[in-house]
């Protein structure tokens, strides 16, 4: 029997704990303890921004799990993310209650505006947080299960899968734009007041949400890491590199791909549900195919098939995006476009790949080559 790969090496655990401490303890302390105006003080507006980045990091992690390990490039992950976000948004809408513009205790404002008389069935139960949280995972999970079952069973792979996942998110985009879908149409859901009884605008709530997101990211990373270090993870790698061969050996590729696809969708739903209370709005533009494609570039920038790289890539690219869209908005699309091209042409293994190359370069012969990634 082959020896099982450890979840993380000792060094890996040290890095993980250090990163977790910085994200979940140091930043919250810096956001509250130093006096306002001190150079160590993290300004209040940065907290939800960091929270947003961490949500993106979970999303990137989810995509890396299926793209980097199983070779499935989904261009519809933004859809799972948005569905999770909508489920959370529906809970937050129900919490507004009579504080809405029309003051209707049951119906959200946009429904009153559309002259609806009663709450649609799909909205039932969303005043309950536990139910909404469950749906934030269940809806993306079920969609992924249904979609994946059809797609993997008929062996739709590679580019074809990418294109139909893109069509899926595009269809959802069109659907959610419709007012009679009952999800707020073009404007989506916004103007939230409170979550679990806490004022959603209050710095303390935002900090709480940020910490929850950081913890969720850490746990998601460990789950993904667990999956890829098991025997099952090796099967995924084999699937990525030679799917037909794996099938001929006798493995059920459909089941394996379906499992990892659904797990990935659940992570997306989680990220979306954490994202919405922090940014305060969810609307159909989250379904735009471009968003889903952008996730792929985060993963590619960090380094495919490494998990850590996905998190790194999501953070780096989004930091650059925030900075550049503020400093020189017309340059952002040039920069993003160039990033797509440079990464695919010059650094196929992303930032982590460059780091590994640099190490190898310094002490050439002995270091084993990292898991290679190609189609």
């Amino acid at each position: 029997m082959m020896q099982r790969t450890p979840l993380l090496t000792t060094k890996g655990w040290l890095v993980f704990i250090a990163a977790a401490l910085v994200a979940a303890v140091l930043i919250p302390v810096l956001a509250t303890q130093p006096a306002p105006g001190s150079i160590f003080r993290v300004p209040a507006y940065l907290v939800p921004l960091f929270g947003k980045y961490l949500c993106y990091a979970i999303l990137a992690l989810a995509l890396d799990l299926i793209w980097g390990y199983a070779g499935i490039l989904s261009l519809g992950h933004g859809a799972f993310f948005a569905l999770g976000g909508y489920a959370m948004g529906m809970y937050l809408m129900r919490q507004i209650g009579t504080r809405g513009v029309y003051g209707d205790p049951v119906l959200p404002d946009f429904m009153v505006f559309l002259n609806w008389r009663e709450l649609p069935v799909v909205w039932w139960g969303f005043q309950n947080f536990a139910y909404a949280a469950f749906m934030a995972l269940a809806v993306p999970g079920l969609l992924a299960a249904g979609f994946g079952w059809f797609a993997f069973r008929s062996r739709v792979t590679g580019v074809y899968l990418s294109i139909i996942t893109q069509a899926m998110t595009y269809a959802l985009l069109l659907a959610f734009f419709r007012n009679d879908m009952g999800f707020g149409g073009n404007n989506g859901l916004t103007d939230f007041k409170e979550i679990l009884g806490y004022d959603i605008q209050a710095p303390s709530t935002r900090l709480g949400l940020y910490i929850v997101t950081a913890v969720a990211l850490g746990l998601s990373f460990l789950v993904c890491r667990f999956v890829v270090t098991t025997r099952f993870g090796r099967l995924l790698l084999a699937l990525r590199d030679a799917e037909s061969r794996v099938r001929f050996i006798g493995y059920s590729t459909t089941g394996a791909k379906l499992f990892v696809f659904v797990l990935s969708a659940l992570l997306c739903g989680l990220a979306g549900a954490l994202y919405v209370p922090q940014v305060g709005i969810i609307n159909p533009s989250e379904f735009q195919p471009g968003n889903s494609i952008e996730v792929a570039i985060w993963v590619a920038v960090g380094g495919r098939g490494t998990l850590v790289g996905a998190i790194l890539g999501a953070l780096v690219v989004n930091f650059i995006k925030t900075w550049l869209t503020g400093a020189a908005p017309e340059l952002w699309l040039f920069a993003l476009g160039a990033l797509f091209i440079v990464v695919t042409l010059a650094m196929p293994n992303g930032i982590l790949g460059l780091v590994a190359q640099a190490k190898q370069w310094r002490r050439p012969p002995s270091a084993p080559i990292a898991e290679t990634v190609h189609d």
Binding site: Y160, I163, A167, I297, A300, F334, F340, D375
Partner: protein, 553 residues
């Protein structure tokens, strides 16, 4: 409208009361005007007499004069009646009628000669009853208007308010009518009026005439006839047959309209997808920047249009589109070749990386165009030979720009097939895609062929941009609208098969348009997308899948 006890009272009452005047007017026309007259101008003496009547003592005299003018069909009457409504018509002591101009000067109402009246002339006052009468007279005069469109709308108006009393006036207008379409509309209105005839034979003839129509108004009239006031069984039977025929015709027309719109949408999809069928289908490159090639073509059209406006006489403007087609092909094709040489050739065999890199290219091209031309939509004019359209049947109009685009789509596809099958370049392209190494051994310059193939696909996308600029806005994100549709068409039709692309585009276009009446435009589109996603599950290689081992590559 309550029916008055006496016919003549009712007439006045209606003229006074309602806006739907044409029936009353047509009736009065019958009373006052000799039936044999053609719609030429009256002799001056008669006309003057009618005009002088406008200054008559009582309102009844005035009404008679107004109706007389209305029924006369005299083209001079319009200006006079309008002056009357505006209170600009005046009469001198000796009953000379004058029209007051804007600056207070007067002209003779009949001859138009300038007049300086000795004393201040009396303005002719109008009340509401007269105004109603004047409006009616004016709308009747449009039956003789010089503009066929005016006459057409007057005929349609007559059809919507059919009356037996109006028939003679319609007969008269019909005798003078030279335009075929207007004459047909007048005949229809006349037949609709004759339905009220006391003579069953006349009603039967009218029903027969109406059966040829496809106007929904006629359907309503026949329905009323069957449901209510018809007693003659022969007429009822004929009306039922006619109604069934009309219903059938209307169904055909609806199918025809859907089919044409479907083909029109299909040809747009076809144009958008043919280029992709080359780059994706033949070369296997997932070109996410394909939409931006279309966009470049549309902007090339815009630039060519502006150049024509700036440097060439207006008479040549209509030719700008003809020049745009090769210009767009060259621009987009050159960009395509440049991209292939600098980026895409390093990514052959790595489809997912190609996808990401070309997506990056598309973002940069969009931003580049936005920086150069600005974000707002650019307006591209239809040349005159692409505006307007013609009517095939009632309610079924074919517009020239749609027709030209359908034809253009097929021509582009045809030329591409010829290039692939009949030229050296096509031979080389097919050789390289089928077996690159063997082709290289045979001395085919594979690098050059790759670049040219990609350039060809991009150039075709550019030509699609020319067509799309004619039916929609030209904006930096024009391409993003079509990219998903294009991929759907190619994947649905079968990658690598031009027949499949054609079938896919037309099929999706037609299905979309037939779904629209039931589901609405957006839901229809969603249904089509879902249908394709499900379809791919059963035929992962599309409608016209390539057979053999190459597909598993």
């Amino acid at each position: 409208m309550p029916s008055g006890p006496e016919q003549s009272d009712q007439i006045c009452w209606r003229g006074f009361q309602t806006v739907r005047l044409i029936r009353a007017l047509l009736f009065v026309g019958l009373l006052l005007v000799p039936l044999t007259g053609r719609a030429a101008n009256l002799p001056d003496a008669d006309f003057s007499k009618l005009v002088a009547g406008l200054a008559g003592d009582g309102f009844d005299d005035k009404i008679a004069a107004i109706d007389g003018l209305g029924a006369s069909g005299d083209s001079r009457a319009v200006a006079i009646l309008k002056a009357l409504t505006d209170g600009k018509l005046a009469a001198t002591e000796d009953k000379q009628m004058l029209v007051e101009g804007d600056n207070g000067s007067f002209t003779d109402a009949v001859t138009g000669a300038p007049v300086t009246p000795a004393a201040e002339p009396d303005r002719i006052r109008v009340n509401n009853r007269l105004r109603g009468q004047i409006d009616g007279a004016l709308s009747h005069l449009t039956l003789y208007s010089a503009d066929p469109a005016d006459r057409m709308s007057a005929a349609a108006e007559a059809l919507h308010h059919p009356s037996l009393d109006g028939v003679p006036a319609l007969d008269k207008a019909l005798a003078a009518e030279k335009d075929k379409d207007v004459a047909a509309a007048l005949k229809l209105a006349r037949a609709a009026g004759l339905l009220q005839s006391p003579d069953a034979a006349q009603r039967l003839a009218a029903v027969d005439e109406l059966a040829a129509s496809t106007d929904s108004q006629v359907r309503g009239l026949l329905g009323e006839l069957i449901g209510g006031h018809e007693s003659d069984p022969k007429v009822i039977a004929a009306a039922k047959t006619a109604l069934a025929k009309i219903e059938r015709q209307l169904t055909y027309i609806e199918i025809g309209i859907n089919l044409f719109q479907g083909l029109s949408l299909g040809s747009v999809l076809l144009l958008a997808a043919i280029g992709l069928a080359v780059t994706f289908g033949v070369m296997g490159v997932i070109n996410m920047a394909h939409g931006e090639m279309i966009m470049l073509g549309a902007y090339t059209t815009f630039v060519v249009q502006e150049l024509f406006r700036a440097f060439l006489p207006a008479s040549l403007f209509d030719l700008y589109l003809v020049v745009s087609v090769p210009a767009a092909f060259l621009v987009a094709g050159a960009v395509g070749v440049a991209l292939e040489r600098t980026i895409i050739r390093f990514l052959y065999g790595r489809p997912l990386e190609t996808l990401l890199a070309t997506w990056g290219i598309s973002l940069m091209l969009q931003q580049l165009v936005r920086s150069i031309f600005g974000a707002p939509n650019k307006e591209v004019a239809n040349p005159s030979w692409m505006t307007g359209g013609f009517q095939i049947m009632g309610g079924f109009t074919v517009t020239w720009n749609r027709l030209v685009i359908i034809a253009f789509g097929f021509i582009v596809l045809g030329v591409l097939v010829l290039v692939l099958r009949r030229t050296n370049l096509g031979l080389h392209m097919r050789a390289v895609t089928q077996n690159r190494k063997m082709a290289a051994i045979m001395g085919i310059p594979t690098d050059k062929v790759d670049a040219l193939t990609f350039g060809l696909g991009s150039g075709i996308a550019g030509m699609a941009g020319v067509a799309l600029s004619q039916i929609g806005n030209v904006s930096p994100n024009l391409g993003t609208i079509y990219i998903i549709d294009s991929f759907m068409v190619v994947v649905f039709g079968g990658v690598g098969s031009l027949v499949g692309t054609l079938a896919g585009a037309m099929g999706l276009g037609v299905v979309n348009k037939f779904l629209e009446p039931f589901a609405g435009a957006v839901l229809g589109k969603i249904l089509v997308l879902v249908a394709i996603i499900i379809f791919i599950q059963f035929r992962p290689r599309g409608l016209f899948a390539l057979k053999g081992r190459s597909v598993e590559a």
